[in-house]
Symmetry: C2
Subunit: 220 residues, 2 copies
Amino acid sequence: METVATEPAAEERPGLRERKKQRTHDALLRAALELFTTQGYEATTVDEIAEAVDVSQRTFFRYFAGKEEAALAILEITQEQYLAAVRARPAHEAPLEALRNAVLEGWDAIGEAVAEVVPVELYLRAYGMIESTPALLAAHLRRSDEVAREIERIVAEREGLDVDTDPRPRVTVAVFGGVMRVTERRWALGGDLSMESMRALTAAHLDAVRPSLAEKWRTD
Amino acid sequence: METVATEPAAEERPGLRERKKQRTHDALLRAALELFTTQGYEATTVDEIAEAVDVSQRTFFRYFAGKEEAALAILEITQEQYLAAVRARPAHEAPLEALRNAVLEGWDAIGEAVAEVVPVELYLRAYGMIESTPALLAAHLRRSDEVAREIERIVAEREGLDVDTDPRPRVTVAVFGGVMRVTERRWALGGDLSMESMRALTAAHLDAVRPSLAEKWRTD
DNA sequence: TGTCAACTGTCAGTGGCTGTCATTAGCCTC
DNA sequence: GAGGCTAATGACAGCCACTGACAGTTGACA
């Protein structure tokens, strides 16, 4: 039960202070990504970013834990969106099937969620930058590892298993995560940075898992 | 043709200068790991390490590109040793089989190679520290990702394939790498830090790959 | 409108890391 | 075995990411 028309709901107007904060945050994020993707991550100082938004350096650090976090903030949206997609899969799907479908069907929602904060084009450029900046790639891989832990829990719960007893939830997620990493790398560094090519690559790589486990590859 | 007894060969005596360098390097490495594992990585400053070996901070940075590299140097030995083991696998083995055997049979050689530089006990402690220090884990995962790239090439060459055309080499390595990551995490954070438990965990997890891909997990 | 709390700027300081230059110490030749 | 060459080191200055502390400013709310 919520009020609908007459009052746009108290939650819709977060107050001037809150809106201002949001604006500063988004401005810093956009400025950071813009600078990172044009001059390079290492070559960009925090002072530059702060100056571009006309705030003090200290304020930047009040919005982001560090330079790194600003560069990866956009990926957090992606990851949370994906986690939600996995949780939403129907219970009858097999674990790997659920993970696969969550990716394939989730990309549109991910695109929309991203677009609310920064232009999609900037997001795609940022992805390429992360992949080719050692410090950022490292941080990204660690975050992905943490996401994997969460997915392990979700899968185990779906199947009513204990993660520490049955190796299958962890192994399943590991296999899936490994394949997604390959997909991601190829996508980010390849020429076609579209959602469509992402879907195609994902499907192709996941379909290649069984053949890869085969004894003899030559018998085609 | 080399002189044997009377002269211990010219290559065996790298000269005083070289030996001194080696000693400084090893001393810095040991001091760093000792401090990292006792006080924690973040809580240890480079000055402390340098002081413990009685050299200037500047000298530390001449031996290691950064604090991080000192903490991970020991893993580099492991990784190179593993790459050598993979390359040495007979050609008749299937890709995944070769990767598996290289791990299972390679651990002894890895242990020996490590022991030449630091006590094995220190190595094991360091492994646990890396796993539980975000900055180090991130760097470690990135290095592992690079090693994976190299293994992809090796697998592709073994099978006479092109990495960019056939997805199987990359997918195989991704699956294997994912499973090894799970194994590594469980080993480093578990109670039993022995080569034997590593072998057992590796085998168990690799054996769990096929069952994990199954449609229904309940039909046991 | 005045009080409170949140947001911000300024300043000082720490630690990782780099460039530069003078000094030291193996190495090699005559 | 004295002297020149060069690699290794130390000392110093400086950049940048990041943090704590304190004071000033500005929404929020009675």
